[in-house]
């Protein structure tokens, strides 16, 4: 077995068997993943074979259509959907926007109140505010200190007047906590409540078992190793969803614009490859995350470990270090060769702390998210554990905050 150093930081770790292309120290997979080798291969082939307009009937078009259809079938199988329920969009954000606005339109006779977990991705919260025209039409559901909504509270909120939909993510993108999507769906059904659930599954697809209780599910291919520019919008058969787009939308009438067939084919190829190894790879990464959760508080004083320790995404953990400047922390880790992210306000363009951390009541400064790419190597984690205590001590030292 080749060591990490023999493959080099910028070359695929072919020895691991997981076919990772992430460079050593790249721990920001929740933001985006490098292109999976299966996607690269499929993309090159599909650029040549799938360029034609799949809605035409000549032979080049039929070839593109076949590629698109098989990509749709493969994607639907992974999502637990029917092929005709699945549409490809040009981004995860577009999928969220169309999914949400379509549900609001479909529920116009019921009402325009959108419920959303307070810790939803900002694209969901922005789309919600946009779809109902004002912030007053959006009601956020509180979360506990782990970042999870309460099933009974969510179901109680669904009983309120004029509720168009509930947006509930599969798992949180910043702290990894899974949301009780299927419990909320089942409990609502038991009580005869029929409100659609929009599930942003961007962090779970290809990583974690997916909930089944969705009405609309959205995802983003660049998170699982597909190319950027491909999102997925799945709408369950029978759900009242009305396209917010002008006439002439493609993809079962759900998405405006020409479909990027080669990119979609590449996205599906990556998803199939990732899904094939998912159970084993997620178990391996989850053990590495367990190690980080256990070791970092021992090695670094005044560390808060965030998110659910067990009922969580397999590849992600977030810490807050007391008296640490998040921006300096990220810069120092970058110098040491680690790419990570932070929800601290000093790192945000808005200079506002992450709304997820605020909703959890968690310490927002000195925040550090580690999200492991597929194939992340164990020696990389060892080196991170070696480097982190010194980096945090240095950043604290600059502010004169040691020993407080």
């Amino acid at each position: 077995v080749a060591s990490q150093s023999s493959t080099g930081p910028d070359h695929p770790d072919v020895a691991s068997g997981s076919r990772s292309v992430a460079p050593a120290g790249y721990f920001d997979a929740a933001s985006t993943a490098p292109l999976h080798p299966a996607a690269r291969e499929a993309l090159l082939a599909a650029l040549d074979q799938g360029w034609a307009d799949p809605s035409r009937s000549y032979h080049q078009a039929r070839r593109a259509r076949l590629l698109l259809d098989s990509a749709r079938e493969a994607t639907a199988a992974v999502l637990g959907a029917r092929p005709d329920e699945v549409s490809f969009t040009s981004s995860g954000t577009q999928a969220v926007g169309l999914g949400l606005a379509g549900l609001v339109r479909g529920r116009e006779r019921v009402g325009r109140r959108v419920l959303a977990a307070a810790v939803e991705h900002s694209s969901v919260l922005h789309a919600a505010a946009d779809a109902v025209g004002d912030d007053d039409g959006v009601r956020t559901l509180a979360v506990d200190s782990l970042g999870r909504v309460d099933t009974d509270e969510a179901v109680a909120a669904l009983r309120g007047p004029g509720v168009a939909l509930l947006a509930l993510q599969s798992a949180n993108h910043e702290v990894g906590t899974r949301q009780p999507v299927d419990e909320v769906a089942a409990t609502a059904r038991e009580h005869g409540i029929d409100v659609p659930l929009l599930v942003d599954a961007a962090q779970s697809v290809g990583r974690d078992p997916l909930p089944r209780g969705w009405s609309v599910l959205t995802a983003s291919a660049h998170k699982w190793g597909g190319p950027a520019g491909v999102g997925v919008l799945a709408v369950r058969t029978g759900v009242r969803w009305r396209s917010p787009s002008p006439e002439g939308a493609l993809e079962h009438g759900r998405v405006p614009g020409f479909v990027a067939v080669p990119a979609v084919v590449a996205a599906a190829a990556a998803l199939v490859a990732v899904e094939r190894d998912r159970a084993a790879e997620s178990a391996r990464l989850s053990a590495l995350i367990d190690r980080l959760r256990a070791r970092v508080p021992d090695l670094v004083p005044d560390t808060v470990v965030l998110g659910d320790p067990v009922d969580r995404l397999p590849h992600l953990v977030t810490f807050s270090f007391l008296y640490v400047d998040g921006e300096a922390l990220l810069a120092d880790l970058d110098r040491e060769g680690f790419a990570v992210s932070s929800g601290s306000s000093c790192v945000a363009d808005s200079l506002q702390p992450s709304h997820v951390l605020v909703a959890m009541g968690a310490l927002t400064h000195g925040n550090l998210r580690v999200s492991l790419p597929i194939g992340a190597a164990e020696p990389d984690i060892d080196r991170f554990l070696d480097v982190l205590p010194g980096v945090v001590a240095r950043v604290r030292g600059v502010l004169g905050a040691e020993g407080l």
């Binding site: 007391l322 605020v358 968690a362």
Partner: protein, 82 residues
């Protein structure tokens, strides 16, 4: 008019961003563990980080309101909860 409860010292951390207001609070607490400190801060992160720090350090967040002069927020922090 904001009526602020009695305090022993004021820390004006307005214009400073995280983690500086919380570090100032920690220094004041180390210097006078029983003291009642009024922290003035306009960093939006302080809204979350001051309560979070109090919980971590077993300090009591007695009161939160607008600063007496209307610029930023005020946090009254005292020694460990009884």
């Amino acid at each position: 008019v904001t009526v602020v409860p009695a305090y022993d010292a004021v820390l004006d951390e307005r214009g400073h961003v995280c983690p500086l207001p919380v570090i100032a609070l920690a220094r004041a607490a180390a210097a006078d563990p029983a003291g009642r400190v009024l922290l003035l801060a306009d960093d939006p992160a302080a809204e979350t980080d001051v309560p979070a720090w109090c919980a971590l350090r077993h300090r009591r967040l007695e009161w939160v309101g607008d600063s007496p002069d209307g610029r930023g927020r005020a946090y009254l922090v005292s020694g460990p909860p009884a």
